[in-house]
Symmetry: C2
Subunit: 155 residues, 2 copies
Amino acid sequence: MTIDTVDGLVQLSFVIHGMLENLASEHELSIIQTRLLGILRDRTPSMNELAVLLSLDKSSVSGLVDRAARRGLVERVSSSADRRVVRVRLSEFGRSLVRDVSARFTADIEQLLGGLSPSERSTLTDMMNRILMGHATARGIDSFARGDQPDISGG
Amino acid sequence: MTIDTVDGLVQLSFVIHGMLENLASEHELSIIQTRLLGILRDRTPSMNELAVLLSLDKSSVSGLVDRAARRGLVERVSSSADRRVVRVRLSEFGRSLVRDVSARFTADIEQLLGGLSPSERSTLTDMMNRILMGHATARGIDSFARGDQPDISGG
DNA sequence: TATTGTTATACTCTATAACTATA
DNA sequence: TATAGTTATAGAGTATAACAATA
């Protein structure tokens, strides 16, 4: 039995979300903790910036970082210029964890795509790019992707 | 700037998940409450069956149904045959809510797909079907979709 | 004894409001 | 005054363990 485009997209998105959830939970990580670590791979943002990036209240980020720091995944760093600002940095342990989750996630998605030929993959990528571009411009966002690593941060 | 197939799929899945989250929250519904209502549209499962369908512990389902019932979204129905069993049924209020979320979700996804031609949509649908089929058989599941309404239940 | 469901407990995640410290 | 961040509090969501009722 087959399904239509809308249902297909929705089911696929649930499958992928679930795959990330399962992988992360092998390291006792939640989706939001994994997104936090994913963001910190190439940035050392302030609490405020984290709140924006994660679409969370600053108090939620305080708790999130508290729990991550308690587990040794991240570290709070006081800023030099503005002494009100607290920056958050990935620990080596956190980095190794997010590296592992990320690599296996990529592998899982690759396997999911295993049945597609190279030219089909290219077609799919092109269509998804256009869908994402359309969605991004519809919200006034120009760049929605950058970097080479698989984007585990949900941005 | 463009992205590769893996990143595209992941980002697209986050976009779609976020769309459902935003729509549901307009009715003060969480994703899991929305999935619960989605399941109940064409079923009246027992607590145990709900736990399997939602991949939750039975105690989590107890709490979930408690909160949904307190808001008048669902009703507990005692089973006739086995007096241990409790079935869960959608209320008319719950039905109207899930109908609205579902319809608008479909509309949102349709809009997301707006830039694709009919033949492109058909190609995309075919590829997604094959991906989902491959994933389903890889887990020993034969039928993973049925019904005509958009599947908001994450199954 | 086994199964169905609830309850007690503990933790994560989230937001609002009040607070402290710095600018 | 305004901004950055934390804390107190409340609630949803989740799991484990202990329990009651039924089979």
